[in-house]
């Protein structure tokens, strides 16, 4: 165990896999000479050379598609898409090709590839550079989507993604890169498709992923002071979705709040709330409440951006309100 940053954990996982398997290579914009827009691949070009750390032209569709084709021949490309916003330009290659090839050809070709890309707002990047559109991938059969919220998960989920034979999108987050935490020194891939209880609690279940899973722990910590015992479910895998773990928790606490960084209507949280309301129907003592981003193109101006993004305070408000609703129905 050592305490490292989320960024370092991603870097270590990539480097370890590059050393372990020569079929693994990195491809994307500015990952080599520039050392990565967010420096996840710093030092990689110097260590592995331009064949395995391939800078590309600005052509998301072209180089993502090229990675898919290379994967069809047995390589294991790890694509960096600078931010998830730009992945829309490669969506046809990902959704209509990477996610379809195994099934559409009757199981004859595999696409063992990883797409790494950060989501997240909060840095005044404006409407087109601050989106959370992991939904576009989590919705698609044939895709796998993981969303680490801690350095430990960043490493173990990245390892699992690279060793998986299907296209896996690893959702990173701009606001998490500098966060730190304990990470095992040895390589231990996580199991894709499993959520985790990151905090045991008796009073209420908070379900979240990526940055909001960290926010959930902060909220739980603050509420513990007031004797409110929050259980936190970190989804970790958006597709497949681990409904069992969510339901088991809510059947224990009898109420739930969902935290998400994307827009509320049709967002990831809608499925979580629908799943809970169905699977824990006879256990639920209050409606499942969702905390999400305001449904607007995110403005640049700081006060507007701050108001639009979900915060720890918003989470606490929703948790309290839900417990009140339980009490009212008591």
């Amino acid at each position: 165990m050592s305490v490292i940053s989320y960024r370092q954990a991603l870097h270590d996982a990539l480097r370890g896999e590059m050393l372990r398997d020569e079929n693994v290579f990195l491809i994307g914009e500015e990952i080599g000479l520039f050392e990565g827009s967010y420096k996840i691949t710093a030092g990689m070009l110097a260590e592995f050379g331009p064949k395995r750390v391939r800078d590309t032209p600005i052509a998301e569709e072209g180089f993502t598609g090229a990675a898919i084709g290379a994967a069809m021949l047995g390589l294991r490309p790890v694509v960096e898409i600078m931010t998830i916003n730009f992945s829309l330009l490669a969506l046809d290659q990902i959704v209509n090709h990477a996610a379809k090839i195994y099934g559409m050809f009757g199981g004859q070709a595999r696409v063992p590839m990883v797409i790494r890309t950060p989501g997240g707002g909060g840095q005044q990047l404006g409407a087109t550079h601050s989106q959370n559109i992991e939904l576009y991938y989590a919705f698609v059969p044939g895709m796998k989507v993981v969303a680490p919220s801690s350095p430990a998960d960043a490493k173990s989920l990245m390892l699992a993604a690279i060793r998986d034979d299907d296209p896996v999108l690893v959702l990173e987050n701009l606001a998490l890169y500098n966060t730190t935490g304990e990470v095992p020194d040895h390589d231990e891939p996580a199991e894709i498709g499993k959520a985790a209880i990151t905090r045991d609690g008796a009073d209420i279940t908070v379900v979240a992923y990526s940055r909001m899973a960290a926010v959930a722990l902060q909220a739980a910590g603050r509420l513990a002071g007031e004797g409110i015992d929050v259980e936190v479910v970190d989804l970790r895998s958006l597709r497949p979705l681990d409904r069992e773990t969510i339901i088991a928790s809510v059947r224990k606490t009898n109420c739930a709040v969902v935290l998400e960084d994307d827009w509320l209507t049709y967002g990831i949280g809608a499925e979580i709330a629908a799943t809970i309301s169905d699977g824990a129907f006879d256990w639920l003592d209050a409606p499942v409440r969702r905390v999400a981003m305001a449904e607007v193109p995110l403005p640049y101006a700081k006060p507007l951006e701050t108001a639009a993004l979900p915060s720890v305070d918003d989470a606490i408000t929703a948790i309290r309100a839900t417990l009140d609703a339980v009490a009212r129905r008591g």
Partner: protein
């Protein structure tokens, strides 16, 4: 500054240089005859496929190679067994010429388990790993980045294979074409892009869709070598393809444009009313199969008897293919969830539309809960 991928280009892998050295050769008489057999087989197959469609044995979209037979024969003869072929959805002929039996291609049209894609792909999505036929694709331009990536994999491993990526004339106007050719040229990848110019994208002529209608010239935007060849002449296509492949094997990607006609509509259901009677007549007059027969006849390579025999053989073979297809079983519904993921993971959904997310009884205890389908 560390070496860039660009410099890597100047020195193609040993294997590839060797491969490149063998010069392009003209077709032998045997090959000229083989082209004809191939062309007739494709012609008869497509006619049979069209009939099967009207008999409702085939569904979905169905695009035929009628008029493209000479290009099919010439191109596929130049491609080596170890090379990889990517195409669009108009690929029946290429699949057959690549060595996939007409039976398995027809069975795919019928959507049966013996189909080349196990019935999961249909007319637009033929795939056979054994013959390195890497798929027909229905999204215009979709195969172009994929094929480029296959060439990247070959380059990565220093292999001597090449990739052939087929597309239509209309496909040269989509972004994926531009991004892919730039990447291939920049990195010196072993790939030949072949534009099958049949003059039309559905009902839109090349002149109405491409500001530079001499499509092979678009290679200049990438300093890529290119050529245009008569797609109605299998020998010419064969020779041009060999030149292109030799260049690709040496790390110089190539753009080859073949010019031929589309005898029928865009797909079997398109009456092609947008085409004038004159145009249709002219195309029929220039039918590459008939014209090539006349030519070989003049050269003394074909006799009336041989023409008849080849025709009978082809007709028999496609009839047998249709029988085989019709006899092949439909995929069982129990296999519906077999090909969503290559690596099994927990909580993958295997629900049919009517299934409940959480089946009753209404109050399972947590022990039962563990067994519930996620």
């Amino acid at each position: 500054m560390p070496p860039t991928t660009r410099t890597a280009r100047s020195s193609p892998p040993a294997g590839r240089q060797a491969a490149g050295r063998q010069a392009a050769g003209a077709a032998t008489n045997d090959q000229l005859l083989a082209f004809y057999r191939q062309m007739v087989l494709v012609r008869r197959f497509e006619e049979r496929a069209a009939r099967a469609y009207t008999e409702a044995k085939v569904g979905g979209y169905c695009h035929l190679n009628l008029g493209e037979e000479a290009t099919v024969a010439g191109l596929m003869a130049a491609v080596r067994a170890e090379d990889y072929v990517f195409t669009n959805y108009r690929e029946h002929g290429y699949a057959i010429a690549r060595g996939i039996g007409p039976r398995r291609v027809m069975a795919e049209l019928y959507g049966r388990v013996d189909g080349v894609s196990r019935g999961w792909g249909g007319s637009m999505h033929m795939f056979d790993i054994a013959s390195r036929f890497m798929g027909g694709y229905g999204i215009v331009g979709g195969q172009v980045p994929l094929a480029t990536g296959a060439a990247l994999a070959i380059d990565y491993r220093g292999g001597a294979e090449a990739v052939v990526c087929l597309m239509g004339d209309g496909t040269t106007n989509i972004g994926a074409f531009h991004e892919s050719l730039n990447i291939a040229a920049l990195w010196g990848l072993p790939i030949v892009y072949v534009v099958i110019n049949n003059g039309l994208g559905m009902g839109t002529s090349v002149e109405r869709s491409s500001a530079e209608p001499e499509l092979h010239k678009r290679a200049a935007s990438y300093r890529m070598a290119s050529a245009r060849v008569d797609g109605n002449d299998p020998a010419a296509v064969y020779e041009a393809a060999q030149v292109a492949l030799a260049s690709a094997r040496e790390g110089r990607p190539y753009l080859l444009e073949t010019v031929s006609g589309r005898l029928k509509g865009h797909s079997v259901v398109d009456p092609a009313r947008y085409r004038s009677r004159e145009e249709a007549e002219a195309l029929k007059a220039a039918d590459p199969v008939a014209a090539y027969a006349v030519r070989l006849h003049e050269q003394g390579l074909l006799t009336d008897e041989l023409i008849a025999r080849i025709d009978t053989e082809a007709t028999t073979e496609v009839a047998a293919a249709a029988e085989f297809a019709d006899a092949s079983p439909h995929p069982d519904v129990s296999t519906l969830f077999d090909y969503t993921y290559a690596t099994p993971v927990p909580n993958d959904s295997r629900r049919l539309p009517g299934d409940a997310l959480f089946p009753p009884p209404p109050r399972p205890n947590v022990a039962e809960l563990v067994q519930m389908p996620a």
